[in-house]
């Protein structure tokens, strides 16, 4: 009995044409920034998402917003902080539940950060595993081989965890399912020059390098 006959019989039993070829849509999680969520549909679970851009381009604000959303959903998150740059005070003010966050401070060592992220993913059960290489020099970040990124991507597959990396430039390349490039648009200051002024926030513009075809977006990160 041929496969076509079997398929026809199945369809007749189940009542109608079935889509046998396409894969089910991946579950996504919100970032907490409506503009990004509407443009990308959220961060896919079981995938690597890469956020990159220069200093003061809103990368950390986006990462902390993702962590705040996840911890508000009662998910346990892990942050591997290669540069020891995480500020728990401002993260708590941004809504991150610190009791749901495991923070690994990797002493400016990208290799240690990579090992720690790998162990956390293998351990399982996390909603978000984030690796922050935001201040890591580009020369050091580039030393992480593509094999390591492929290994991370393979480890995260078929898990409900979202792996997020933050860096100055894209490192994971094709291993990332979603690549968000951030760029600083302008900083907002209140008050006139020479008098009492306040930094009010920054406006960030972003685009998705992968998957192609997603619309550009911008959002404001207030202080």
């Amino acid at each position: 009995m041929g496969a076509a006959v079997l398929k026809q019989q199945f369809e007749s039993v189940l009542g109608g044409h079935l889509d046998w070829q396409s894969k089910p849509l991946r579950e996504t999680v919100r970032t907490g920034i409506a503009e990004i969520d509407s443009a990308t549909g959220g961060l896919p679970r079981g995938c690597l998402t890469e956020i990159f851009g220069p200093a003061s381009s809103g990368r950390t604000s986006l990462l902390v917003s993702i962590l705040a959303e996840a911890t508000a959903r009662q998910e346990v998150c892990a942050l591997v902080d290669a540069d020891d740059a995480f500020d728990p005070v401002s993260a708590a003010a941004a809504g991150v539940r610190l009791d749901k966050l495991i923070w690994v401070r990797a002493r400016q060592n990208a290799e240690h950060a990579l090992k720690a992220a790998d162990l956390l993913i293998q351990g399982g059960g996390f909603g978000i595993v984030a690796m922050d290489l935001g201040d890591t020099p580009q020369s050091m970040a580039r030393r992480i081989s593509m094999t390591s990124w492929f290994r991370l991507r393979r480890a995260i597959e078929h898990t409900p965890t979202v792996l997020v990396t933050v860096a100055r430039q894209s490192n994971a390349k094709t291993c990332a399912s979603l690549m968000i490039e951030c760029a600083r648009e302008q900083a907002a200051w209140s008050g006139a020059r020479g008098s009492s002024r306040l930094l009010r926030g920054i406006r960030v513009k972003g685009k998705c390098e992968r998957p192609p075809g997603l619309p550009r977006f911008s959002w404001k990160a207030p202080v």
Binding site: S56, R73, A92, G95
Partner: protein, 410 residues
């Protein structure tokens, strides 16, 4: 079926080897419930023989009696030597030759019974109960029931102190981790099996090693949730002892586990998955071995306005917070980067620090903050938010030690 052991030695421990329901009686006697042991040993004589063999191994000299009730067993064990099995329904006949003094009556009652010529159990048992009640009261009636072997009562079992400890003295000093791991695995398996047999788990394991240099090496492993997973415990000990090895070969190993009730968790369809606690502990222990023991955990904010004030905690305390949308975050430089600052009209004009250099295009400040002036460790500083010519935003501060870049806004 009740057994009674009478003699010398540690009878309580001996009895606990055969039954969890054991009542110690003053005067070197222990009563234990041996119901169900017939499935293991067979007839009552075989149960008694097994207990007697174990007593011989422990070098205890004992007399054993088995009966349908505790008091008949006590009388038989105290009155007859060796093994006695009191037949059910014939207790009065079996005990008839024993002296009444064995029932420990009060001196007045003893004297009365002596005057009546009542010296043996069968003589007391033969007296009419109504007459005894009229002449000797409640105590007399109780003695008569004891003499007839008719008293039915529940045992008052001793509470087992539940110590989960074990030790090994190796034949030769151990100086490598691998052979030590084998011995630790033996201890862990035996202790976790004992815990599991009683429906318990542990959240704290203590290890004490006697070393060749006459010192003692002690470590304690604390777990976030109770568990009996011996394999995970062994891995945790392996990581712990690799990070903090003993300074000399090991002569003696002692391990103890604190017994606690296992944690019961109800899973649900809509409950999000979380890391399995013991597995998470193992993962964190492995990461600690890579990045350092004080650099992994959950951050907990301190009750102060001092900048960057937090501490790392292993077991985080719950806090309430809600997501508040995107906010501009500060990436801290730890330690803060020393900066050379050129001033113009009292405000920063040009900044040079490690990896950062540029003209200040925008700034806000200074904002003066201070605190803890009432302690030995006060702090005060003037802060600026600055934008450099490359467009990046930084927090700059000046304190008595000089100028520093605290971090960048990102």
């Amino acid at each position: 079926m009740i057994a009674c052991l009478h003699g010398s030695g540690d009878l309580l421990t001996l009895a606990l080897e055969f039954s969890p329901i054991v009542e110690p009686i003053p005067g070197g006697t222990v009563v234990l419930d041996v119901s169900g042991l017939d499935r293991m040993f067979g007839h009552p004589q075989d149960i008694a023989a097994a207990i007697m063999n174990r007593a011989r191994e422990r070098q205890s000299a004992i007399h054993i009696a088995l009966a349908s009730n505790a008091d008949a067993a006590i009388c038989a064990a105290r009155g007859f030597s060796g093994v006695s099995v009191v037949p059910y329904g014939d207790e009065a006949k079996f005990l008839e030759t024993l002296p009444v003094s064995m029932l420990a009556p009060s001196p007045q009652l003893q004297e009365t019974l002596e005057r009546w010529g009542i010296r043996r159990f069968h003589e007391l048992a033969a007296l009419p109960p109504l007459g005894i009640a009229e002449r000797l009261g409640a105590e007399g009636l109780r003695l008569r029931e004891l003499a007839r072997g008719e008293v039915e009562r529940k045992l008052v079992p001793v509470i087992d102190p539940l110590r989960f400890e074990d030790q090994i003295e190796p034949d030769y000093p151990i100086d490598l981790l691998e052979p030590l791991a084998f011995l630790l695995a033996r201890l862990l398996n035996s202790l976790t099996t004992s815990l599991a047999a009683r429906g318990l788990a542990t959240d704290e394991i203590r290890l004490r090693l006697k070393l060749e240099n006459r010192t003692t090496f002690e470590r304690t492993l604390r777990l976030p949730v109770p568990s009996t997973d011996a394999k995970s415990f062994l891995k945790l000990w392996h990581l712990d002892l690799t990070a903090q090895p003993p300074q000399s070969p090991i002569l003696h190993i002692w391990m103890a586990m604190r017994p606690v009730k296992p944690q019961a968790a109800q899973s649900g369809l809509f409950v999000l998955a979380a890391p399995e606690p013991v597995k998470l502990e193992l993962t964190l222990a492995r990461i600690k071995a890579i990045v350092g023991p004080d650099r992994v955990g959950s951050p907990e904010l301190l009750n102060t306005h001092r900048p960057n004030a937090f501490r790392m905690v292993a077991a985080p305390s719950p806090s309430l917070a809600t997501s508040q949308g995107s906010r501009l975050m500060l990436r801290l430089f730890r330690p803060p980067r020393t900066a050379r600052v050129a001033l113009a009209f009292g405000q920063p004009h040009f900044i040079a620090a490690d990896g950062i250099r540029g003209k200040v295009t925008e700034l806000a400040g200074p904002w003066r903050t201070s605190g803890d002036w009432w302690t030995h460790d006060p702090w005060s500083r003037d802060e600026w938010d600055i934008a450099l010519s490359d467009g990046a935003l930084y927090r700059l501060y000046c304190d008595p030690q000089g100028w520093f870049l605290d971090g960048s806004y990102d």
